[in-house]
Symmetry: C2
Subunit: 172 residues, 2 copies
């Protein structure tokens, strides 16, 4: 594996060696050109485009992907605890609490003290939360269909497989 890594390093090195002052009229994409070969940079830009498309398709009170994930898992697993939800989504407790406070204020979800552990809250959707979830899922399916239309369904599957592999980074 070492030789390939070194060849990659060398090609990136020559790409980046020289300074190129730009005029005031330079194109934004030309200015950031050298970052377009960096997986992290392109991944972040793509993620922001995908999140924006998701949000633009939502019409109800749940408009952001993170909110959708929380609503979706509570709907799927009624009685889930806050701790389980934090761990499953790998989000901070404070962030989850902010989402749940908003859901409670909107009448979409409720917390109930657990029977076996009174410090733990169990989470449930209200009937209104169930309806919001159905509507949000409908819009989410249209969003995924737009992605499949853009990449082709084989391309979409290939992308998911490559991204799943990437999540193994730093796990060995």
């Amino acid at each position: 594996m070492k030789p390939r890594a070194t060849a990659l390093a060398r090609s990136q090195n020559s790409r980046r060696e020289s300074a190129e002052p730009v005029g005031a009229s330079a194109e934004p994409r030309a200015i950031a050109q050298e970052l377009e070969a960096d997986v992290g940079y392109v991944l972040r830009r793509a993620q922001l485009a995908v999140f924006a498309d998701f949000t633009s398709g939502q019409r109800g009170p749940v408009s952001r992907p993170g909110q959708f994930a929380v609503l979706s898992l509570i709907g799927r697993h009624p009685g889930l605890s806050q701790a389980q939800l934090c761990e499953a989504l790998d989000i901070k407790r404070a962030n989850l609490v902010a989402v749940l406070d908003r859901f409670e204020a909107l009448g979409l979800a409720r917390r109930e003290p657990s029977a076996d552990d009174r410090r733990a809250n169990r989470l449930y959707l209200t009937p209104s939360g169930e309806r919001s979830l159905q509507a949000a899922r409908e819009a989410q399916r249209e969003h995924e269909a737009r992605i499949a239309q853009l990449l082709g369904s084989a391309g979409r599957r290939e992308l998911l497989a490559l991204l799943q592999k990437l999540r193994e980074l730093g796990k060995e």
Copy 2:
């Protein structure tokens, strides 16, 4: 294209129909299982893994991908304005200002009023900023090599192509 989108919607629909209460000992990944087919969710998890790997490989004052992008573009295009940098990276002015304040405090970059437009600042690296950029690039190349090792170089190229396509979402 319509039939494919509908078939996708139907398969996701059945996947999500039923509620599955989980016990206190359920695996986090099993709880979030239904989200693993959503491009946005998997993309976000992969992006966080890639950013964490990037940061873990950096040893100098520039440890986060956003900081690296800013340092990198100033180094490549000396005299770039703040407005150009914001537009090229699609970041908010306030976020860029925070990064530049930090770079100035660390002696890595300086702002100079532009000769043609006194309200605009032009950006330059200091010699110490140049050295930090070289070190950060070296660590960044090792990070990209780890990605190439995980996906294979063909897989890495394929991923970049699919992500670039995804950025077209919502642009028509």
